[in-house]
Amino acid sequence: MPTRKAYPLSIVLILTLTLLNFAGCGQKGSSKQLTLAVNSGVEGDALKQAARDYEAQTGVHINIAEFPYANLFEKELVDLNARTGAYDLVMLDDPWFPRFATSEFLSDLKPFYEKRGQSGPDDDFVANSLALGHHPYQTGALYALPYVGNSQLFFYRKDVFQKHNLKEPATWDEVLAAAKLFNEQDAQSAPGGGKMYGYVMRAAQGNAAVADFMPIFWAFGAEMFDPQGKPTVNSAEGINALRFMLELGKYSPPGYASFNADEVSAHLLQGTAAMSINWPAWISSFSDPAKSKVIGQMGFTVMPGAKNPGRAEIGNWLIAIPRDARNADAAFDFLVWATSREQMKASALRGNPPTRKSIFNDPEMVAKFPAYPQQLRSLENSRPRPRTPMWNEIENAFGIFLSKANSGELSAEDAMNQANAEIAKILERGK
């Protein structure tokens, strides 16, 4: 009899034991171990591979936590704020940096350099890239090193421009005229006989719309904030810039108000659009026959201008050490190793634009990546997004109104006025 009654109890017991067993294998603590938070994508992949090489060389075990772009920021912010110490190194997209730096979540790198008898990083880094890791911008203490040197480039179809006897566009007006021309005359010129659109942009709410708008916004002479820090997106220049974007949108594929980078790239790769702003990460895809129908036909140049000379938005990936990292010293060793000349070349060969001038100028690399001179020119001339800890919230609100204007829900004027009011509210809350 007793054996039968003990039956449910034994189940409970077995289950408890199994569970305890699982709890055990959760977190191990050892000094020869680093945890890296990386972006799932080409940048994170390169760092992951570098980490494997480092493991083989030094015997330091490296765990990788990989997240999609949108979630990486959330994960890092929540974990660093909760002081879990889960990560020894974090990859940061540069517009996130002010948020982390103002919250004092990151380690100042100076003491680590001093321990090695150095004063700081060498001067091979592109100044615009290194400036991003300082808080305050450019002038303050150094909290992060730049790993991937992205800045926007202007993509255009060389063959289509040649066919119409046009040179590569230097101003936004030329872009608009060309887009109109292609749209009218190249109705069936996409591979397979589909329509080729003159231009393709991404105006999905959030990061996408803002990134594609900023170069136009700046070129038209608009600024997000006045010197006192008040939002000024609804200035006459700002509204004109948005009007121009809407004009250009007429030659963009239908539904572009919801496009993200993937849709833009799909259009360029399938040959159904002739021009776009995009990131250098895409350059290599155009020569991959499994993805591209326009092999050898894509040209890359610096951002067109208008009232002001054209400037691209910078979008670098930084690597930083959280304040609560469990193995900060080992993390710093890895950081210096991964951003060294030799390793950055390896990363560049894996498809990431470097942040070191010497690699951009390396003839061997230029032979492999013919757009490097334009990339360096664009990077050295680039502008960062405004350095405010509230940027994510501001970008989100700004992007919503840009997207609404592009989908026809709001006029340019209404969109900018509403965006300005919303941004003012966000800044007020941030005080």
């Binding site: 239908p254 108000a257 919801s258 849709e263 994510n392 989908s407």
Partner: protein, 290 residues
């Protein structure tokens, strides 16, 4: 000792209930207390402040997200119910191939919502998607059909995806309800010579009411919290056209890092869900008492 304790009839129900109650208390009361505490804290001030709650009414994004969620829930629920009921009625009869049809119809509800989001994002792409591609092949002009990319069609598209995934659930619960109805009332109706509509109206519907209420209750709770598919499908866009409450709370908490305001919004969602659910449960209990 233990065995004696188990024999003790008076203690037994409490003993059986204790683990469940303990787990649920720990994982629901703790979050509740936490939420109450943070929702009364605003960034700048350390003390208690109702700032987050007053902000709700001036926040056009919040009000829009609330509106979207309600429209989403009402539309999806209506269509899922009507479609689910028709399918259940059809497949409750002796139809050839009934078992196969029934099995095939259940497929969508088994899929992870994340995967559903992926599939439909692919299918609804205005330029490369299978739907517009197929329509174009049939000679239709698809330039205006931008689905999730159009502010007018986006919410409707997202709702259609929900209907696609969850009509099977309605169907399943209602079919189960139909099969539990005894045959006698129908035989009596046949003798009385009632029309099919009368039989449905006066026999099927009343007897099916508990199943209907359960199905509606479960779906309503899930609809008000919808997150996964929308997160993958549109991320709330274009503009703000498909942002639901859950998405906005998620964004506020994890992207803007404003836990206080997120908690305040969570409260509204919680209260809303509770009120609606309690209405259903009231109806159900009245049904049971009868």
């Amino acid at each position: 000792m233990t065995i004696n304790f188990f024999r003790h009839e008076r203690a037994l129900p409490y003993l059986l209930l204790a683990p469940t109650v303990a787990v649920l208390l720990a994982l629901s009361i703790y979050p509740l207390i936490y939420s109450i505490r943070v929702s009364f804290q605003t960034g700048a001030h350390a003390g208690w402040s109702p700032g987050n709650f007053s902000r709700l009414f001036a926040d056009r994004f919040f009000l829009a997200a609330l509106g979207h969620t309600l429209v989403y829930a009402v539309c999806a629920l209506t269509f899922e119910f009507l479609l689910g009921l028709s399918l259940a009625l059809l497949l409750n009869e002796a139809l050839r191939g009934r078992n196969i049809f029934r099995a095939l119809l259940l497929a969508p509800m088994m899929l992870p919502p994340v995967v559903v989001g992926v599939v439909w994002r692919l299918m609804l792409n205005p330029n490369f998607g299978a739907i517009n591609g197929t329509l174009k092949g049939a000679g239709l002009d698809t330039t205006a059909l931008t689905w999730t990319a159009s502010p007018r069609l986006a919410l409707a598209s997202v709702i259609c995806v929900d209907i696609w995934q969850w009509t099977p659930f309605m169907f399943l619960v209602l079919l189960a309800g139909l099969q539990a109805i005894p045959q006698e009332p129908y035989e009596a109706a046949l003798i009385d010579g009632s029309s099919r509509w009368q039989t449905f109206r006066h026999i099927t519907l009343p007897l099916l009411k508990p199943a209907i209420l359960i199905a509606l209750l479960l779906r309503t709770m899930d609809l008000l919290r919808v997150f996964d598919q929308v997160f993958i499908l549109t991320e709330g866009g274009p503009g703000f056209a498909t942002e639901t409450i859950s998405l906005y709370i998620y964004r506020t908490a994890f992207r803007f890092f404003d836990f206080g305001y997120a908690a305040a919004m969570s409260f509204v969602l919680l209260v809303l869900t509770n009120i609606i659910s309690l209405l259903y449960i009231r109806l159900l209990q009245r049904q049971e008492a009868r």
